[in-house]
Symmetry: none
Subunit: 413 residues, 2 copies
């Protein structure tokens, strides 16, 4: 694909839009042709299950899960690879007429990205009992189409509109899972840089999101001396640069992705700015320290020359502690990876930099993840890329891990 | 007025709306009761003239000029003070039955604010031959009333609708002026801070507007190491902080009022940021130097760690050279100020931070301005305030300057 057509390799499938409905309908249909059941819960999560040998009633399935929604300028692998590999696993079992011990299946989690409805992994959070159904249903989209005469919609309205408001409660109690495996692109450069094929993911970074509101005073850009300003935009710019320096000194990650300035006129000093901070580290205590350093530094900036007296308000948008995945799931992946790769040097242990539905699910059942290499470490962009042979290897490790975990179940008798 | 009713002290008289028609009709009527002629040109500029002693034909008048339109959330002084003080000057001459040497008058310039039709001081620009009549007439409003079923109107349509499309060409050739004096609130804090009553304005700052577009690469905030990023937002934040430092070192003004980040997602590094720079100084060469320093510094930032390789593109939005007012007009104001204030310490020389119609007019006739103190330096807001006694003093200085200039005319014989 020529670089002059970057969007041709990208996806813009925002959660619960018309394209999301289309791919959900397609997935449900594929599942049915493989003889699987399809259950949709009240958050639109799709649970596809293939029966196993066990005749015991209400046996929880070993599930493969990921998501089909994307960022507005997303790629073709983030989430999608995991669902497609899961579907391929079910196809492989079907074509081979292979009977697993217990049931095995596939989950498509709703709104993982949080790009349209600004709550990341909200539907798996509700399933895991970490967020309330009401709160999730009331979450209003931030990216309403320009021509949408009805104005912004909330998740409940959009679940109903596209026909994916299921009747089953979105809960680990109503829909129990025996174990959860997720295949995902690394979205970072480490595997590529070390020339390895598989990441065995042992846990996830802590990730805190904040919205910072800086309130100053609007005045005329031509007549207000520098020392008489309460410039909310200048203060915010300095805060973002300072947060970056703090992240580097702690070997953590701090990112500002959203920034809004009011009133937004060339010759008027901004009275209000809202910007986000995404703060991550593998250790909870380092995240806490970076937050504290930012708070102190921002207050100091608010006392500087052209910003004297601006007010800084912090709102927590998300607050995810570091996650440690299940040893049994990790071992199943290690074993499958060594076999599929031919040797144990082709894979390594890793910590996930991003949040995934697996982080929520791991609170309620044994969980682990598998990473595949990502070209230049780039994700959330149309140039996101994972070689076909790496996708295949990842899917093999995924199925291998599921079969190992299934074979070792002791809860089916 | 209680602070719980801030809008009660404000004005929302957008150019050429129904309220603007009312105040224009009122002004024309007041002028006629004083025996003055009223001429309206093709831009709706109103020229009110009171005859002088001179019997010579086609003698150009000494004019007082300002504007009656306001920002949508404007105050009661910006522009209005200058026109009201001019009317009061004509009333004083009328009541005293005083004959000036040449004719003396008052101008109400159309759409000074550029708030409704987004071209600041456009009507005086057309009069001065700096902008074309066609361009001005075709300028479309940006703030159409929500219930306006006819959609946005242009200046020509609105001039016709309210009956202020005159027949005389809007030109310094068709309507020559001998000199132009403007009384205006300072819109800055200097006079108040120094406890002075009058600013004798010797010119206007150079003002350059740029839009900077920074192009990086979007990627995942949780998985992209700091050193592998092309973070357009972080780079922009550093650039804004750096521009501020450059402004301070040069004792100039640099402001960023507009800032837009794409794609605008919490956990995606921004691929594109657009922000504005408003760069001002009284000396053109210092503005040029600040622009050059910003260019060099921005290129250096584009080579730093987390921004390596971002591209920086500059677009010029406006480019106004510094203006130096007329020595004769300035001397007339100095003399009047010393007399009205009782001593020469109550006034000081100043440079205007904002653009005014006088900046355009000064290209075609001797011009200078008078400033009055502004509470807390605040303008373009309902809390804009100038004490009644300061307004009166300003009006006295205005009339005194006009009479001095008129008395010294040598072109009337």
């Amino acid at each position: 694909m020529g670089s002059e057509h970057p969007s041709e390799t990208g996806m813009d499938r925002l959660s619960l839009n018309d394209d999301d409905k289309k791919v959900r309908d397609w997935l449900a249909n594929e599942a049915k042709t493989l003889g699987c059941s399809v259950t949709v819960d009240q958050m639109g999560n799709m649970f596809i299950v293939r029966k196993g040998k066990s005749t015991k009633e209400n046996v929880a399935p070993v599930m493969i899960g990921s998501h089909l929604d994307t960022q507005p300028t997303g790629g073709r692998y983030d989430g999608i690879l995991g669902v497609m590999a899961g579907l391929e696993a079910l196809r492989t079992l079907h074509d081979a007429n292979h009977e697993t011990e217990g049931p095995v299946g596939l989950i498509n989690w709703t709104n993982e990205e949080g790009a349209r409805f600004p709550l990341v992994t909200v539907a798996s959070s509700v399933w895991a009992g970490l967020a309330s159904l009401e709160m999730a249903w009331n979450c209003t989209e931030i990216t309403a189409p320009a021509l949408d005469v009805d104005g912004p919609q909330n998740m409940k309205q959009e679940l109903q509109r596209i026909g994916y408001m299921g009747e089953v409660e979105a809960s680990y109690k109503a829909i129990p899972i025996a174990a959860h495996f997720e295949l995902h692109i690394e979205q970072g450069p480490i595997l590529e840089r070390e020339d390895r094929k598989i990441g065995v993911v042992t846990g996830s970074q802590a990730c805190h999101w904040f919205e910072i509101e800086v309130r100053g005073r609007d005045s005329h850009a031509g007549t207000t001396p520098m020392e008489a300003r309460m410039d909310a935009l200048l203060a915010s710019a300095k805060m973002i640069a300072a947060a970056n320096a703090i992240a580097k000194s702690e070997q953590g990650l701090i990112t500002t992705g959203r920034f809004k300035a009011l009133p937004g006129s060339v010759n008027t000093i901004a009275h209000t700015v809202q910007f986000t901070l995404d703060i991550r580290h593998v250790r909870d205590e380092v995240v806490a320290s970076m937050v504290e350093q930012c708070r102190r530094k921002f207050e100091a900036i608010a006392k500087e020359d052209s910003e004297l007296g601006v007010e800084v308000h912090w709102t927590t948008l998300a607050d995810n502690a570091a996650v440690n995945f299940d040893k049994g799931c990790i071992q199943a992946i290690e074993s499958a990876a060594t076999e599929s790769c031919g040797n144990s040097n082709a894979w390594r242990h890793m910590t996930s930099g991003a949040t995934h539905d697996s982080c929520n699910v791991s609170r309620r059942c044994p969980t682990a993840m598998i990473f595949t290499p990502t070209k230049d470490g780039l994700s959330h962009t149309p140039v996101e890329y994972c070689k076909p042979e790496d996708c295949i290897l990842g899917a093999q490790v995924l199925l291998g891990a599921v079969l190992r975990y299934d074979a070792a179940r002791t809860d089916l008798a």
